[in-house]
């Protein structure tokens, strides 16, 4: 999957515009896990939705396996839906509270033809449902129940099962563990890892918890105010961040170790995405800000074999 | 701001046009609605009918008739009734409006005060018998057809117990202009006020209570309690003040509908010559000019009230203020 200079602008009342995604280009390699981190409101979910064409992009191109899907109609997109799926953050809201889990899971199987191009029979659907429940370690009895009868972790498993029902190759996971307790979060993160190993999936894994991202992803993209400011191998980005924002982000994470020293936190708040600062979008909070940053917007540029950063004065070179 | 105003204006014009065109078409699609014979009079000769038809333009194409009527209604304001020859409808409405406004304003005052009191007390005493009793009273108020309540009120105050000291002050049905005799105005309207208000007291107190109870689970109410404020202050300054946003929007619409003629049943039962009754009479007589005028009047009121509610929102809810 590849996106080229994708932009998404929301039009607010009073003629204001909000650039939720502001010119992002990146590609996702088959079999890799691309972590997407950034603070709340920086456009992670929007980007994730754009990838799957759940929102129409304002400009740019989205390519899936070389095919341009940017302007495909909903109908034309339908066969491709089998290839790419999404898991949402709010495990409760993403399950219809008025339908049984079995119905929910069977829905994609009913609307899409089977591998033989024909409608799936009841029996194959039932068999597939049991398979899926096995895959996410839920008892088959769960199929007859409603979403509200499950705990958050279990619901997230159901969401994952639904996303996997059509055996997609790409799964966009939009903060799938943020709403979970740590003890459950670990189970789900493990499940994601297991599934990837077993089924050879490709993930775009959105999270705001760096530790989780680090645990699961091979590459990380750090977003700030609608743009990717740093992109590279997970460990490179988290341990040798080149962008001051990435550095601040890693430093700010509280660690469950007593006496861990933490750098002084960043000052100030994230500017409103409606009034994005001119020049480098991070200059208002950057501790190393220089004159050039205020006027000239840095482009994402390579600083290593697989490491790019959007900063005039990167902290580290590839 | 100017844009918003223009948009509002455009919307208003659109709604008015829509309604008037609809009324006009429905009228002419109704068999037996041809007003010629009624204008000409009983047993009028065919020639007289012809004269009337020409004079009133009933022989012209409908769009022309529509345009003429709109011109007469809005520009020259000399549109005359089809039933009472020569009666101009615009001044007729202008005369009826004060009656309706008197009725509705008084009732509104009663229902606002009482419903706020009832709703707040019930919310404060949530779960007690007082709460349940008040809410039940509200429900009963909602359940009584206003025309029936009005009749029963008339039966009691005008006939059955008119001779007792309790109701001997009640004047006969009808309206007394405020400018003529304020005390008489008050006496004539006080029972209609109450009757009209009863249902709204029920609705508003229930809505308010539900709102306040829902709000009491809100974080900011918890914050207020954590601040150590007194329950009264929390309920009034934080709860009630926030509920006012819903309350006002509800009130604005109901008030407008009533002033626009929605109090028709009350007006009919109490013989108040207000806009509602006028509209009702116009409708029963299929008096198109009057129907048109009253419907336009009420539409203008409702649209206007919507605008006023929106403006009030700005005062009441700073969030809305910024969203514009």
């Amino acid at each position: 999957m590849e996106v080229r200079d994708v932009r998404k602008t929301y039009h607010l009342p009073r003629g204001q515009t909000l650039k939720a995604v502001d010119g992002i280009s990146l590609s996702v390699m088959p079999g890799e896990v691309l972590g997407l981190v950034g603070e709340s409101g920086c456009g992670k979910s929007t980007l994730g939705r754009c990838l799957l064409r759940l929102t129409d992009v304002s400009s740019g191109q989205i390519l899936f396996e070389g095919q341009d899907i940017t302007h495909l109609s909903e109908r034309a997109l339908r066969p491709l839906r089998q290839q790419m799926q999404m898991v949402f953050q709010d495990s409760y809201a993403s399950l219809n509270p008025r339908r049984r889990i079995g119905d929910l899971l069977a829905e994609p199987l009913k609307v899409h033809p089977g591998p033989d191009g024909r409608k799936r029979s009841r029996a194959t659907i039932a068999a597939r449902l049991h398979e899926l429940m096995d895959l996410v370690s839920l008892p088959a009895a769960a199929l007859d129940r409603y979403a509200h009868e499950f705990s958050g972790g279990q619901r997230q498993r159901i969401n994952i099962a639904r996303a996997l029902a059509l055996s997609p190759r790409l799964v966009v996971a939009d903060e799938p563990v943020s709403a979970l307790d740590v003890s459950v979060q670990a189970q789900i993160v493990n499940l994601f890892a297991d599934l990837q190993a077993r089924l050879g999936l490709t993930y775009v894994f959105v999270a705001h918890d760096l530790a989780v991202v680090r645990q699961i992803s091979t590459r990380v993209a750090v977003m700030y105010l609608g743009a990717v400011v740093e992109l590279g191998e997970t460990d490179a980005v988290l341990h040798r961040p080149a962008h001051p924002y990435s550095a601040a982000l890693t430093a700010a994470v509280p660690r469950p170790v007593v006496g861990a020293v933490r750098a002084a936190p960043l000052g100030g708040d994230i500017p409103s995405p409606v009034a994005r600062p001119a020049g480098c979008r991070f200059h208002t909070r950057c501790p190393f800000v220089q004159g050039r940053c205020r006027t000239e917007e840095p482009a994402l540029r390579r600083i290593g074999p697989s490491h790019s950063v959007a900063c005039h004065f990167p902290l580290a070179e590839g | 701001m100017v844009m918003a105003l223009l948009r509002r204006l455009g919307q208003t014009v659109f709604v008015l046009f829509g309604i008037s065109a609809l009324v006009f078409l429905v009228f002419f699609a109704t068999p037996g609605a041809d007003p010629t014979a009624r204008i000409a009079g009983r047993n009028a000769s065919p020639q007289t009918m012809e004269k009337v038809r020409q004079e009133y333009g009933f022989d012209r194409p409908l769009p022309v008739q529509y345009a003429t009527m709109m011109k007469k209604l809005f520009i020259t304001q000399d549109l005359a009734s089809y039933v009472d020859r020569g009666e101009l409808v615009v001044p007729e409405i202008a005369r009826a409006a004060p009656v309706t406004v008197s009725l509705v304003c008084g009732a509104a005052l009663i229902w606002v005060v009482l419903s706020i009191a009832m709703g707040t007390i019930a919310a404060a005493m949530k779960g007690t018998w007082i709460d349940r009793g008040l809410m039940m009273l509200g429900l009963i108020g909602i359940s009584m057809p206003v025309f029936w309540l009005g009749q029963v009120a008339n039966l009691i105050t005008q006939s059955r117990y008119h001779d007792t000291w309790l109701f001997s002050w009640v004047p006969g049905l009808g309206y007394v202009p405020l400018t003529e005799n304020p005390w008489g105005w008050f006496k004539a309207l006080v029972i209609p006020w109450i009757v009209l208000a009863v249902m709204f007291i029920g609705i508003y107190s229930r809505v308010l209570r539900a709102d306040l109870v829902a709000l009491s689970g809100e974080d900011f109410m918890r914050t207020a309690r954590a601040k150590g404020l007194s329950p009264t202050r929390i309920l009034l300054r934080h709860g009630l003040r926030t509920s006012m946003v819903t309350f006002v929007s509800l009130f604005g619409l109901d008030f407008a509908q009533l002033v626009g003629g929605g109090a028709l049943l009350t007006e009919v039962v109490f013989g108040l010559p207000g806009v509602g009754r006028l509209t009702y009479q116009a409708l029963t007589n299929l008096d198109l000019p009057l129907i048109m005028a009253t419907v336009m009047y009420s539409a203008v009121f409702v649209v206007l009230a919507n605008a006023v509610v929106d403006i009030l929102y700005l005062f009441l809810d700073p969030r809305v203020r910024d969203a514009r």
Binding site: - | P31, G32, A33, D34, T36, A37, R38, A40, G41, R42, N43, A44, S45, P46, Q47, T48, M49, K51, V52, E55, A80, S81, V83, D84, R85, G86, E87, L88, E92, R95, A96, N154, Q158, S159, H162, P171, G172, L173, G174, Y175, P177, G271, L272, P273, L278, Q281, T284, N285, L286, D287
Partner: protein
């Protein structure tokens, strides 16, 4: 029936100036009556209120009693004699008459008033005044109406001469009719609406607001010229308030807040009024009855037997009950009401009677005869829709009719609409109304208004909303009979009366309608009101009421 509480005042030229003069009369009416223009308004409230405001050349007597039938001179010095076989009438205008604006009334005003009738499109311009020479032209081109050759005036001799195209037996009545009020020549040639043009009567309208009320005050230029025709008024002012419903009006009069109500006392208040306020009640006959026209051109009532069956079957006693009992209403089974010229009691459809052998009074329904006729007609099982006005008493009568029709074997239903809509609706033949329920009252006492207007061939106008012959009835022989009766009026009134009665019976033999009930008005006055004089034509004379 008419029971004036005091005897009419003796003739006197001076305005009454005794203890009973002065004060304000307070009247109540539910609704206003629209335009005040006396030549346009066809609303009886306005007629009632404007009777002491306007005058015609002639007038209906302003006193009660059996002698009060023919018209008498009003602005005219004398009732004219027909000349030229009834084609010419010569009238001399009284001298020293003034309009309420001080202008002197002259013959030109009279001629102008008649022209104005056509110019403003008076509802009766066609039916009442089209026999005047030139009237046809006026009807066709009202704006250029001259009535040339129709009305000649001579201001020197103060005479006005009317020329008719053909004799009109009721021409004198029509000169007395409200629309023939004499107005200043300068009155604008259009409906004056809410302003009343100057009149000649003892009062003038000083304020009128259709929503709230009306005030009449004394006309300063009025000098009584003929007490019988237009007596001077007692009260100084008459104040009318609109807006109360009849229930409220009754209460208010009982409590002394008003002196008179225009509307009838509602049915459920009759008992209370009759027992506690009996002394304040006036009951008087009206030339008003309710009937159900049967459309003789469409099934099932194109069958004479079906029409007769219904006439036999209807329970007129029930109809009386719906109007408040025998004191208020009388069963009616003929087409001329009691009090109308030519009225001769006759009931063809009652137990023990037949068209050939009518009884003088209705006794009871004759269901057996009705069923027999039904069988013969072969119309049982057909659908009949009664078109009735929405208003209360009509609704009850319509229900009774429906029950009767059902008992005769029809599939009957009632469709109600408001009276203003229903009245033109049932007249239009395009609406195919089988059976309507309606009432008819005379503008002035005459037989023709009941028989000719309602059942003559000429008054059936197909596809028109104004076609008072709702039965679509047309029998040339009966038409001829009615014409003869009408023509005889000029030469021999008694013969005319007989012929009308004959026509009445002939019509009822054909049964183009079901006459139901004739009613009386029950009027309530306040305790302080005196001297209620009820006339056949003008009901209670407001100018004669006195207040303490």
């Amino acid at each position: 029936q008419v029971a004036p509480t005091t005897a009419p005042e003796p003739h006197s030229a001076a305005p009454p100036s005794n203890a009973h003069t002065g004060g304000t009369l307070r009247l109540a009416a539910q609704n206003s009556g629209g335009t005040l223009d006396p030549q346009v308004s066809y609303i009886s409230l306005i007629k009632e209120l404007e009777t002491p405001v306007y005058d015609g050349l002639l007038a209906f007597p302003k006193f009660a009693g059996s002698t009060a039938q023919p018209v008498i001179a009003n602005l005219a010095e004398a009732v004219p004699q027909p000349e030229d076989g009834g084609r010419t009438y010569r009238i001399t205008l009284r001298p020293n008459l003034h309009f309420s604006n001080g202008q002197v009334v002259n013959v030109e005003d009279v001629a102008a008033s008649f022209r104005r009738l056509f110019k403003v499109g008076s509802p009766t311009a066609g039916p009442y005044y089209s026999h005047i020479v030139g009237a046809e032209a006026c009807l066709h081109a009202p704006a250029h109406c001259t009535l040339a050759g129709g009305i000649e005036t001579d201001s020197a001799t103060r005479t006005i001469t009317f020329h008719l195209t053909q004799p009109d037996a009721e021409f004198l009545d029509r000169l007395a009719w409200f629309h023939a009020a004499i107005l200043p020549a300068s009155t604008p040639p259009h409906d004056t609406g809410n302003t009343a043009p100057p009149g000649t009567g003892p009062y003038r309208v000083t304020r009128y607001d259709p929503a709230t009320g009306m005030v009449l005050e004394r006309n300063p230029y009025f000098r009584e010229w003929a007490h019988d025709a237009q007596p001077a008024g007692y009260v100084d002012a008459i104040q009318v308030t609109f807006g109360l419903d009849p229930e409220g009006e009754v209460t208010a009069i009982e409590n002394g807040q008003y002196d008179w109500m225009y509307e009838d006392v509602p049915l459920d208040r009759l008992g209370e009024v009759g027992s506690r306020y009996a002394g304040q009640v006036q009951i008087y006959t009206l030339l008003l009855y309710y009937y159900a026209p049967l459309n003789v051109r469409i099934p099932p009532f194109n069958s004479l037997k079906a029409r007769q069956a219904l006439n036999y079957a209807i329970n007129r006693h029930a109809m009386v009950i719906y109007h408040g009992g025998a004191a208020v209403a009388t069963p009616l089974c003929q087409l001329l009401p009691q009090g109308a010229p030519g009225y001769a009691p006759s009931c063809a459809y009652t137990k023990g009677a037949s068209p050939a052998h009518p009884l003088p009074q209705w006794q009871a329904p004759d269901l057996e005869e009705a069923r027999k006729l039904m069988r013969e007609s072969g119309t049982a099982g057909q659908k009949v829709t009664i078109i009735a006005p929405l208003e209360g008493r009509y609704a009850a009568m319509a229900m009774e009719l429906r029950s009767t029709l059902a008992s005769l074997g029809y599939e009957a239903s009632v469709r109600s609409m408001t009276q203003t809509v229903q009245f033109p609706y049932v007249q239009n033949s395009d609406n195919h109304v089988q059976l309507a329920l309606t009432g008819w009252n005379a503008d002035y006492p005459s037989a023709s208004t009941f028989l000719q207007t309602l059942f003559a061939c000429a008054s059936f106008r197909p596809h028109s909303d104004n076609s008072p012959n709702m039965s679509a009835f047309c029998k040339p022989d009966i038409d001829a009979l009615m014409n003869k009766a009408s023509a005889a009026a000029l030469s021999s009134p008694t013969e005319s009366m007989q012929r009308w009665a004959e026509a009445d019976r002939a019509l009822m033999t054909q049964a183009p309608a079901v006459p139901l009930v004739q009613i009386k008005r029950v009027s309530l006055l306040s305790k302080r009101t005196r001297n209620a004089i009820v006339t056949l034509n003008d009901e209670i004379l407001l100018s004669q009421l006195q207040v303490r």
